[in-house]
């Protein structure tokens, strides 16, 4: 074999590098990496100091041996053909192990993960291959640690997400249970109410018949007088009290049924024309507003994503309330509008929802009453309008189901603003008639 020469010509896009062998040996020896040059038959002809450090062999021990001696036993058999493939291939250099981890084998038999770059050098018709080998143990450990940490992190995120989903499910079930409870109780209460109503009416009819009978001339005046007193004073009056109480009870039960239904009906998720809805609501309340001589001002209202019927119910309730609880001391004024992309109740920025409002200059709500406002069966001014105090509870439930919120700002004696948010119509969600899921149902 021709002795390896004074000069190495390095295949590179840079101009040829010409250095003396001594200089080259120095350069090779200060390299931390193992630099090993072999012939086409994989005979080791150069083994630098870095190679000794990594593999544990002195150059004298390996020069003349084949490259396979530096590989784990399992990789040796396939290696010669791999080297041949590279030597004949078009590439002048290749990084090994970019797809899989490659290993080296030390003199003591231990194996280590390695990063290997192999280059082909042509020199006067002879092909030499140079491998630059770096012990990747530390890097591998580092990468493994990162991988492990990532996996742990993912696990924790997964766990936390599952916990949250579970909590949400529990809350939804709880809500559903409450609604079912309210529904079945209200429903069961209806049955005895039919009796109360029915038989108090029977009593009323009976008293009327009895009253007619008492007009009979054959009845002695004295008895007729006493009996009429008894009938009118005691019985009829008692029956009236019972009937008033029963109809109040039945209205409350109906109100509770309406509330539980607002949590159970199926809502659609569609683009809702809020302008049209409010126009309709204001039109329907025309009689009330002209009776109260109130002015209703409606600003521009952007469309929302939700269920048209439910959104109409919300506006009808809030505008109706605003008209019902105006202050007779001043001309009534109700204003409906929207603040786009404005902040929510706690000042947070809302991008996914628009905030609509219904503002009045009415009686206002004292601060002490404001936190009870959205609870069922709470009434602040029962003398002002009929009702069971269920409207705002239903409104809040509807908005929760539609993905919105409701809050209030009010000063007693000055007026009230009800704010509520509804999801915006975003372009990236195609128009559909998808349904807003019902709370999880166990049956």
């Amino acid at each position: 074999m021709e002795p390896h020469s004074q000069e190495y010509s390095v295949a590179s896009p840079l101009p040829s590098l010409r250095v003396s062998p001594e200089r080259l040996a120095e350069i090779l020896d200060i390299a931390e990496d193992a630099i090993i040059t072999v012939t086409l038959s994989r005979e080791i002809i150069l083994f630098n100091r870095g190679a000794t450090k990594i593999f544990g062999y002195t150059p004298a021990e390996v020069l003349g041996r084949t490259l396979e001696d530096l590989l784990p036993v399992a990789f040796r058999a396939a290696h010669p053909s791999q080297v041949d493939g590279f030597a004949r291939g078009p590439d002048v250099s290749r990084v090994m192990g970019d797809r899989r981890v490659v290993f080296g084998r030390r003199k003591d038999g231990s194996e280590f993960p390695a990063e290997i770059t192999i280059s082909r050098l042509e020199r006067g018709g002879e092909t030499l291959l140079t491998a630059i080998v770096r012990d990747a143990t530390a890097r591998k450990q580092y990468e493994d640690a990162i991988l492990r940490m990532n996996q742990e992190l993912e696990e924790r995120v997964k766990l936390r997400t599952a916990e949250l989903a579970d909590r949400n499910l529990q809350l939804a079930q709880k809500n559903e249970e409450n609604e079912m409870f309210v529904y079945s109780v209200s429903h069961d209460l209806r049955s005895p109410l039919v009796n109360l109503e029915g038989f108090s009416d029977e009593l009323r009819l009976g008293s009327r018949d009895l009253d007619k009978l008492l007009q009979d001339d054959q009845i002695p005046t004295e008895i007729r007088k006493k009996a009429t007193e008894l009938l009118q004073g005691s019985m009829v009056e008692s029956i009236d009290f019972i009937r008033t109480a029963v109809s109040r009870l039945s209205r409350i039960i109906d109100a509770l049924l309406r509330l539980s239904r607002s949590g159970r009906v199926v809502y659609r998720s569609q683009e809702v024309d809020v302008n049209a809805i409010v126009k309709r609501v204001v039109e329907a309340l025309r009689a009330t507003s002209s009776e109260k001589q109130a002015e209703v001002i409606v600003g521009a209202l952007p469309p929302a994503r939700g269920d048209a019927t439910a959104v109409e119910q919300v506006f009808a309730n809030l505008i109706g309330n605003a008209l019902n609880y105006l202050d007779p001391a001043r001309p009534g004024r109700v204003e409906v509008g929207c603040r786009q992309g404005c902040s929510g109740p706690d000042g947070e920025i809302e991008l996914e929802r628009n905030t609509y409002y219904v503002k009045d200059n009415g009686l206002g709500i004292p601060a002490a009453h404001q936190d009870k406002l959205f609870r069922a069966l709470q009434r602040l001014h029962p003398e002002k309008a009929p009702g069971e105090g269920i409207g705002l509870a239903i409104v809040r439930r509807i908005l929760e189901r539609l993905g919105g919120k409701i809050w209030v700002e009010s000063v007693a004696g000055q007026g009230t603003v009800f704010f509520f948010s509804l999801p915006i119509v975003s372009n990236d969600r195609p128009e559909s008639s998808e349904e807003i899921p019902l709370p999880q149902r166990s049956s």
Binding site: R190, S191, V194, N195, E197, D201, I253
Partner: protein, 146 residues
Amino acid sequence: MKDESIVILLAEDDDGHAELIQRNLKRAGVANEIVRVCDGQEALDFMQQKGAYTDRAPQTPVLLLLDINMPKVDGIGVLQALKADPKSVKVPVIMLTTTDDPREVERCYQLGCNVYITKPVQYQEFVDALTRLGMFLEIIKFPANK
């Protein structure tokens, strides 16, 4: 014209409701015989001439007033059983219930009930409904199984 040979079978577990229904039917001018049973099983026994009703004259045309919430067999169960049997599939059935849940109403109609009456808490509406029922009896066609 009004067929007074029709027997009205009233299946209602609540005594008060049963009494109110009977009184109001009478007031509405319904003079037919009313047989009252307290649960769905008894209603089926009557229809199928079993148990206490083995000796009932089988030819008598029957109109069924059926409450939904009843012990043993509920109104839906009775309705299903009647509509599954060719002998009773044509028996007119009027459902009476306190629920106005649209799904429940829909279900009863799907099962083949003829009329669905909500027992309203507003009593006058209930009376009106029963009065309409009296009128309904005059026009309803009964299966010719005499």
